[in-house]
């Protein structure tokens, strides 16, 4: 599974996967991501649709039947998607820690912020 550890996820994919820990439909994902990022990340519907289809193809998310509304499809993360999400969080941790420690060493923070 080399593709699980290589490469960075896009911001859209990362937040979509995070939103799909619980089953959710398309519009719900958009709202969830916006709330989660304090309004910074606004997924557009066309981009979201393309991303969901790619994730379905990769088997990182699966489509569920929505019992209350057969038209609205619910999606949920798969085990494979969950693993990808975890390895991305580890990658982000590395980026974050490296950034923080180098910036602190240089005292850049105090001089310029």
């Amino acid at each position: 599974m080399s593709d699980l550890t290589s490469g960075a996820l896009t911001e859209a994919v990362y937040y979509i996967l995070l939103s799909l820990i619980e089953p959710c439909h398309g519009y719900g994902i958009m709202q969830h991501v916006e709330k989660l990022s304090n309004g910074r990340v606004r997924l557009a519907a066309g981009t979201l649709y393309g991303a969901i289809n790619s994730l379905l193809e990769k088997n990182w998310v699966k489509a569920l039947d929505n019992p209350s509304d057969s038209r609205k499809k619910d999606y949920q993360i798969t085990d494979l998607g969950y693993r990808a999400l975890n390895s991305e969080i580890n990658r982000l941790k590395e980026l974050y820690n490296n950034g923080l420690s180098i910036i602190k060493e240089n005292k850049y923070e105090e001089n310029n912020l």
């Binding site: 896009t10 398309g26 557009a44 519907a45 979201l48 649709y49």
Partner: protein
């Protein structure tokens, strides 16, 4: 009351067309039907809608397009009309900002789709134009000249779309 306006926008000016439709909506004219060069508006509350145009991968009646349009509808987007594979969408401005694409990759993908429409059309116009002008005895030469001119119009369209694409690609070196 309905109002019809005739206006020409080339397909590569789709962003200008969106802007114009938004300006019309700001004046209280809301697009309710589209045809070739023809826009039909309904009067309503000024600024009620914002608009986006998209060249779909398939015809609007194709199951994949139907599924896509349905997905958009669930997010508060309405399809106003279509010309061939071009679809006119609108969203109520009170429901927030309207964008179809929120990252560089999906914008590039859309531009590629437009290029893949123009390139074959350009080739067809040049081939038919050349046949008409140089090899046909029966067909009028002016028909061939029009074909060749149209071919150059598509060359221009390809140039415009490609310029937009290159700009996005440069940005993607840094951002997503």
């Amino acid at each position: 009351m309905k109002k019809t306006i005739y206006k020409l926008y080339w397909a590569w000016q789709f962003d200008k067309e969106e802007k114009w439709l938004n300006e019309c909506s700001a004046k209280g004219l809301h697009l309710c039907d589209v045809g070739v060069f023809r826009y039909t508006f309904e009067e309503g509350n000024p600024g009620a809608y914002s608009h986006k145009l998209e060249l779909l991968e398939n015809w609007p009646s194709h199951p994949e397009s139907v599924a896509y349009i349905r997905f958009l509808e669930d997010t508060g987007v309405e399809m106003v009309g279509s010309i061939l594979r071009w679809v006119y969408f609108r969203k109520k401005t009170v429901d927030g900002q309207f964008d179809l694409f929120s990252d560089i990759d999906s914008r590039i993908k859309h531009l590629n789709r437009i290029l893949m429409l123009f390139i074959p059309l350009m080739i067809v116009e040049f081939v038919i134009g050349t046949i008409n002008v140089f090899f046909s005895r029966t067909l009028n030469q002016s028909v061939g000249t029009i074909n060749i001119l149209l071919g150059f119009v598509f060359v221009y369209g390809i140039y415009v779309i490609n310029k937009k694409k290159q700009k996005l690609k440069k940005e993607r070196m840094i951002y997503e």
